[in-house]
């Protein structure tokens, strides 16, 4: 006990001692600079920012960030400056001592746009040495963007101490950006800066290099070649970006079309209500999330994992019901089936509209599906990535199911030759019902995924149905690989046409190309070979 007590007393004494020293009657350069904030003069304020930021005083960061937020109060009469905190407590800016209240005559120190830039740069410099890697990286990037000469010293200081590789690179780039615009930097420094920016190679680097103004001839020449190389690498990256968008669109198309391909392949039935099965899956997700929100908020991140099997069951059950009550009476009359299922789609849409209202419903992204990461020069959002992974997983499972299970074998047999399969003892009507249920269930799963990237409304299915048909017609029937190739080809072709022709014309071009393609291969890319005259 006594030992503790004495330690406390010691520390108290020490702090009192420190405070006594921190309150000198004669002011140092830091205190002088702080007092300048009270002059209400932009050039004085700028000078003050520079001195305070470079002082190394622990109060510098709170002062500058308060200045940025308009929380730095100056009293023109007493020349005293105060930092008011967000919590209402205030300190004296020059000493750090707490004050009871800021005098009424004090007003916030004003800024103009030029000062705001130097405030940002100063803050950048101050946070460059923060213990947190993320903060340092961000600070380095903000210095890179502002490239204020005043930050150069801070950058150099930070660079000397930095250990993290990524922050070091960012600091080097920030330094290069500053040097490129610094009028008295040497030619060698500038050439190095150009090389560093060339290595960075993104849109920002390109903007700096193209906007750097008058420079020595050698630097201009180096910059021109750097611009050329950055532009060509950016062109490659934009191709990669388009390819990624195409893959992403392709995965959505595949997910929507895969169930259709199964029902069409096995039963020769065009299910116009397929889009509505997708919609039902999306609404199942909505209901699951509603229940979780009201009852078990902690489970929200698992909502999709719960929704996937549920959507499969709900949509699959509805599918079996439809097959048993409508479609089985229409076998051999594909055109009539088309009309009946179209009618069914109207009924289902209207039913959902009556139950859930005609407006969009809010379906949230779980935390693991929100956000994005950067890969080289492109940004990849997690929800798109997960949908691609999910689609491929569904595809593989389905492929395995067709290949290795008894039902899969029966389905393939019925696809290839219905009458022969029936003669061999396969209960084709049972296979039909299960196939239709499977196709609908997969559409329901697709709905869960699409609820993450699209509006959940009664018209959700309508917007996918024509595209899914195009995929199936293009890919060919009776072979899931055809659907895969068809979906990704159409997705990628669409995204590559979009920047050239615009979104709508691109889509029209795709439709026209498919119509022409059908001329060459009336049964799609991967048609089943058979000897029947009329399939």
């Amino acid at each position: 006990m006594p030992a503790h007590l004495s330690a406390r007393l010691c520390s108290l004494a020490l702090s009192l001692f420190l405070i006594a020293f921190a309150l000198p009657a004669f002011a140092g350069p830091f205190e002088d600079a702080v007092a300048k904030f009270a002059n209400d003069d932009f050039s004085d304020t700028e000078e003050a920012i520079g001195v305070v930021a470079g002082s190394g005083n622990p109060l510098a960061f709170p002062i500058i960030s308060a200045l940025q937020d308009g929380r730095l109060m100056a009293d023109p009469d007493s020349k005293k400056v105060y930092v008011t905190g967000a919590d209402g407590k205030s300190i004296d800016a020059a000493t750090g001592a707490a004050v009871a209240s800021v005098p009424d005559s004090a007003s916030a120190v004003r800024l103009n746009n030029r000062l705001r830039r130097s405030v940002d740069a100063a803050l950048g410099g101050l946070t460059l040495q923060s213990p947190d890697v993320g903060t340092r990286l961000q600070a380095a990037q903000s210095v890179f963007k502002s490239h204020e000469e005043t930050a150069l010293e801070a950058v150099d200081a930070a660079l000397a101490k930095e250990t993290s590789r990524s922050v070091k690179t960012a600091l080097g780039e920030a330094r290069a950006a500053i040097l490129l615009f610094k009028s008295d930097a040497t030619e060698v420094e500038k050439l190095e800066a150009v090389a560093t920016l060339k290595a960075r190679g993104d849109q920002d680097a390109l903007a700096l290099l193209t906007g750097m103004g008058d420079q020595p001839a050698s630097v201009t020449k180096a910059a021109a070649s750097a611009i050329g190389s950055i532009q060509s690498s950016l062109a490659v990256w934009s191709m990669v970006q388009n390819a990624w968008y195409g893959l992403s669109l392709g995965s959505v198309l595949l997910l929507a079309a895969i169930g259709l391909a199964i029902t069409f392949g096995v039963m020769g039935v065009i299910n116009m209500a397929h889009g509505e099965m997708v919609m039902i899956g999306a609404y199942t997700t909505f209901v699951v999330q509603e229940v979780i929100r009201t009852r078990y908020p902690g489970l929200f991140d698992y909502s999709l994992l719960i929704a996937v099997p549920l959507a499969f069951l709900v949509a699959g059950a509805i599918g079996v019901l439809i097959e048993r009550s409508i479609i089985r009476f229409l076998y051999g009359r594909p055109l009539e089936t088309l009309l009946a299922t179209w009618g069914l789609s109207l009924v289902l849409q209207q039913a959902v509209r009556t139950m859930f209202g005609p407006t969009n419903r809010e379906v949230g992204n779980p935390s693991w599906m929100s956000g994005a990461f950067e890969l080289g020069q492109i940004t990849i959002t997690y929800n798109r990535l997960w949908i691609l992974v999910f689609t491929l997983a569904v595809f593989m499972i389905l492929l395995a199911m067709l290949r290795y299970t008894a039902l899969g074998l029966e389905m393939r047999a019925v696809t290839q030759n219905r009458r022969m399969a029936a003669s061999m003892g396969i209960a084709t009507s049972r296979v039909d019902a299960l196939t239709f249920g499977l196709g609908s269930g997969i559409a329901g799963i697709a709905g869960v995924a699409l609820s993450q990237i699209d509006n959940v409304s009664p018209n959700l299915g309508q917007s996918y149905i024509i595209d899914s048909f195009m995929v199936v017609v293009f890919g060919g029937v009776g072979n899931l690989w055809g659907t895969l190739v068809g979906a990704f080809t159409l997705g990628i072709a669409n995204k590559f046409l979009e920047p050239v022709a615009g979104a709508v014309l691109g889509k029209i071009a795709i439709l026209v190309l498919i119509i022409l393609f059908i001329q060459k291969r009336p049964r799609g890319l991967f048609a089943l070979k058979g000897r029947a005259v009329e399939a």
Binding site: I270, V504, P522
Partner: protein
Amino acid sequence: MTPHMLTRSLDRSATIFLAVVAACGILIPLSNLLLPAGSFLQVPTYLVALWGKYVCYAILALSIDLIWGYCGILSLGHGAFFALGGYAMGMYLMRQIGTRGVYGNPVLPDFMVFLNWEKLPWYWYGFDMFWFAALMVLVVPGLLAFCFGWLAFRSRVTGVYLSIITQAMTYALLLAFFRNDFGFGGNNGLTDFKDILGFNVQAEGTRAALFALSCLALIVGFLICRAIVSSKLGKVLIAVRDAESRTRFLGYRVESYKLFVFTVSACMAGVAGALYVPQVGIINPSEFAPGNSIEAVIWVAVGGRGTLVGAALGAVVVNYAKTFFTSGMLAPYWLFMLGALFILVTLLLPKGIVGTFNAWWDSSKEKRTAAASVSAAAEDGVTEPKMAE
């Protein structure tokens, strides 16, 4: 015996149909124009316009029945031909506005002035002349159908594949016509018409005349379809519908027959669209929506596929029901009913109203004849008068 009786019964229903349409085409305009307003027998102008719309739909249904009922081609894009005919007429009506538009430009329609266009696009040339527009009403849908059909039928795209790509065709046109830079008024389409051939489109007399003309077009269209399906060509078409490969093996060039009938049908749909636009007063890209084309197919299915009379009847019945239900408190249930109609007709009434009625009539007649001949045979040809014929 049966084919003979079938043609006779069709003849009878055809005669009744023609008489009813002709009577409507004459009596309704007369009653609208001559009888005093508010009188019990006077048909109000809004009904003339509404029924005129139904008649146009009936022509469209007839054109679908010609290819679907007699040749087995299910087009889910016939609304596109209808809309193209409508746009051709709409372009003529736009050019007739002249300086009476909001911007008062003598040549450019309002939407082009609004979009700061300097001069008329080349494809608008000639549409200030009625004969040219009337020709285009036939040529544009016909040409599209010819090119599309030539590609599709030659490579033997049949069945649902054909249905799907016709749907893609109308969908592509829908997207295209929605664009402002396509030069057809974009989203708003063409509207605010003033005159047709110098007559005010809003005037009662013009509306009555348009109604009579629509009825005339329906009669002419019906006669053309009858002529086609009852000729030797029509027999080949039916053979294509029932057994395409067998017909081909017998030496007929199936694709030429299909192409011919598809093109004729598209021209008819174009005429229907051209008559529709001045009566409705607007044409916009939503006419290309795939849903519209499918709805038109269901009119045919309801009335009776392959009966011609049934197609026209189905169009009128379904659209009357649509107007009736969507205007009342039952409006939210209309889509349920339309959807149920699709399902029930395909399941329970595959021959449609007229087809079922014809089948019932024939079978009852056959029974009566059989009964008559049985009793005649039983009584060994004594005094019993023959019931049938």
